[in-house]
């Protein structure tokens, strides 16, 4: 599979972006109305970059995140994730790509209620076909990394919001993805828990992970190297610190 090749790619060379969005548009049919959610967005993300996407609601940030996360195909334009053009892949191939190269972190954690912490972390590994013993090993290691090793047998509803979000982060890291996509990861958290989660993101960034985070909090975006502001489906500001 191409996955190993993609991961072996050096992540620190700024010359070669890991994510390339080329003139992407997305048009939705909402009843009789056509909604242009994205109107020609071009963005490159480099390995190890910590970016935030901001903008008022309805500006297209969710759509952009869905496209970046391979949950949705662009109407036109091209999207390269690693070496491959993923804008034309079929449903099954997109599923494989999501499982192998993308780590999702949601605002409402989205843990699977009937599974334990450890089993939640194992879910992406399961869909990648990793053997059970190996999944368990990786999941335990990740649980330790997010500081929840004592809670691995608990069910999500037995954990606080901050703890649940840390489980979600561990789950996103399970397949060692190319990029981590976070959709308002602190939106449902109190400031203390939110702070802890942001610390964790900072640590991941220092370890060389590529982070793309949607937020509308300036406080959050201050920590990132790069802030992208969208307006009406177009990139309004793209500033690197």
């Amino acid at each position: 599979m191409t996955q190993t090749a993609a991961i072996a790619e050096p992540r620190t060379t700024d010359a070669k972006p890991i994510v390339r969005v080329e003139n992407v548009t997305k048009v939705y049919q909402m009843g009789a109305v056509l909604v242009e959610a994205l109107r020609g967005v071009t963005l490159h993300f480099h390995p190890g970059e910590y970016s935030t996407i901001m903008g008022p609601s309805g500006c297209g940030k969710s759509t952009l995140l869905n496209v970046l996360g391979c949950l949705d195909r662009p109407t036109s334009g091209r999207y390269f994730l690693g070496e491959d053009d993923v804008s034309t892949l079929d449903d099954d191939e997109l599923s494989s790509i999501r499982g192998a190269r993308i780590g999702f972190i949601f605002q409402s954690y989205n843990l699977i209620q009937q599974l334990s912490v450890l089993e939640n972390i194992e879910v992406p590994l399961y869909y990648q076909g990793a053997p059970a013993w190996k999944s368990r090993e990786i999941a335990l290691e990740l649980a330790e990394r997010v500081g929840l090793v004592e809670r691995v047998g608990h069910k999500p509803f037995e954990l606080s919001g901050g703890q649940q979000q840390r489980v979600a982060i561990a789950r996103a890291l399970a397949n060692d993805p190319l990029i981590l996509l976070a959709d308002e990861p602190t939106g449902n958290l109190d400031s203390k828990s939110g702070e802890e989660i942001l610390e964790l993101f900072g640590a991941l960034h220092r370890q060389g992970k590529t982070l793309i985070m949607v937020t509308h909090s300036d406080e959050v975006s201050e920590r990132a190297q790069r802030v992208i502001r969208l307006r009406d489906g177009q990139v309004e500001v793209d500033e690197r610190k």
Binding site: N66, G69, L71, R98, G99, Q114, L115, G129
Partner: protein, 439 residues
């Protein structure tokens, strides 16, 4: 990746195992709901197995009884005509009825293809040995009786033609009677007393159905109602010792009957002409009897009837089973559709984390099959227990064929697949973006 490789990946043993465990966890989370969902399947499967067992048992009993009467035989019996009964009680005059030696001769002369005719007289008496007595049917018959019964002589021998011709006082008794009259001694060579006559025991019959303790119902010889055991003597001896006049004393009344023969078993060589022979016999008897003081019994016809009854029973049962499993299946489908809607978010998350459509189909299908399979297992266990209870408390024979639980379980699994496909497809066809946005 080739299609085969994809399937191999989806259905690899370790993934199957983990998918199963995941299914069990999801179902376990809603225990009560899962239990209620499968009740339809449970009762369907349970009732099918129990009813099959009862049906099999009943038809087995019927067929056994009929088989014992012989499928090549036509049995003719004397029946006391009902209108005469009242008259006899008021006037105490001998009532004459039943089949006669002449009838037997006529039948033998008219119908070709008769292999054997065995007439019998049946007399109910007490048989004595010293101070012990046993109430029994004395059957005066021919040596050829052995050929038309399934009973066998266990020890000693049956009487011979010579003994018949000489009107010898010899008898063959049944095992149960031998045990009661001769608890210690060997009965062979001993004598038993009936009224003033003594009979030498020359053989002991082992009865085929002795062990099953089957109640002698309407199919057993008419004169022997409730008689537990039979003693066999030569027909000629019966005629000369007991005569043809039977006196019956019952509470307050006294009746005298004159009956030549109580029963005649006609064996036909060719099984295909048994039914036809029965019609001819009936015609002959009808022409020579004023009253209908006889009845004929065709075990083969009864057997066919029993088989037909069983066939109809099976069809009815099959329909009931099909309907209850259909209802059970719809119940499961209904709940699974609700579950799919309820777990839309989970489906979206799983898709985002790399689950392909077929992984989602597989996940929900496994849950449905687990549900219906578990329902099947519970149903099979209940269905196996119920016949045991019935056998124990109602003294009915029940037979569980080994294939019936296997079939019932198999069908319940199949119901799971059939009714699980649609909800699973619905789950897999969800758009991941929409599913993730679902509240």
């Amino acid at each position: 990746m080739s299609r085969l490789a994809q399937l191999r990946e989806t259905f690899s043993p370790s993934r199957m195992h983990r998918a199963l465990m995941m299914g069990v966890k999801s179902l376990w989370m809603h225990r009560l709901r899962s239990l209620l969902t499968v009740l339809g399947i449970v009762f369907g499967v349970c009732s099918v197995i129990a009813m099959l067992a009862i049906g099999e048992g009943a038809s087995y009993e019927a067929r056994e009884q009929i088989r014992r009467l012989g499928s090549n035989n036509v049995i003719i019996r004397s029946v006391k005509p009902p209108e005469e009964q009242g008259a006899s009680q008021s006037r105490s005059v001998a009532v004459e009825y039943g089949i006669t030696y002449k009838d037997i001769d006529r039948i033998a002369a008219t119908i070709p293809g008769i292999d054997l005719i065995v007439p019998s007289r049946l007399i109910r008496r007490n048989v004595w040995v010293g101070g012990n007595s046993v109430d029994c049917d004395i059957r005066g018959t021919l040596p050829s009786y052995l050929q038309v019964t399934t009973n066998r002589v266990g020890r000693g021998r049956f009487f011979t033609q010579t003994e018949l011709d000489d009107k010898k006082n010899v008898c063959v008794i049944e095992e149960s009677m031998a045990n009661r009259l001769f608890p210690i001694d060997d009965p062979l060579g001993k004598t038993v007393r009936v009224d003033q006559d003594y009979f030498e025991v020359i053989g002991v019959m082992s009865r085929e159905d002795a062990a099953s303790g089957m109640p002698e119902g309407s199919l057993s010889p008419g004169a022997s109602e409730g008689a537990p055991t039979t003693m066999y003597i030569p027909l000629t001896a019966a005629r000369s010792r007991f005569g043809e006049i039977l006196m019956k004393r019952s509470t307050g009344s006294f009746s005298v009957e004159r009956v030549e023969l109580h029963e005649a078993i006609v064996r036909i060589t060719d099984q295909d002409s048994v039914i036809e022979a029965n019609l001819v016999i009936n015609e002959i008897l009808q022409a020579n009897h004023k009253n209908v003081d006889y009845e004929t019994l065709v075990p083969l016809a009864l057997l066919r009837q029993a088989e037909e009854t069983k066939r109809i029973f099976n069809i009815v049962l099959g329909s009931v089973a099909a309907i209850s499993l259909l209802v059970g299946g719809i119940g499961i489908m209904n709940i699974m559709l609700a579950t799919v809607t309820e777990r839309t978010r989970e489906i979206g998350v799983r898709r985002a984390l790399g689950a392909k459509r077929r992984d989602i189909v597989f996940q929900f299908l496994i849950e449905t099959v687990l549900l219906s399979g578990a329902g099947g297992i519970i149903g099979v266990m209940m269905g196996l227990a119920i016949p045991l209870f019935i056998s124990h408390f109602a003294q009915m024979t029940t037979i569980v064929r080994f294939w019936s639980p296997v079939l019932a379980f198999g069908i319940s699994g199949l119901v799971g697949v059939v009714f699980g496909i649609y909800p699973a497809m619905r789950a897999a066809d969800m758009d991941p973006v929409e599913a993730l946005r679902h509240e």
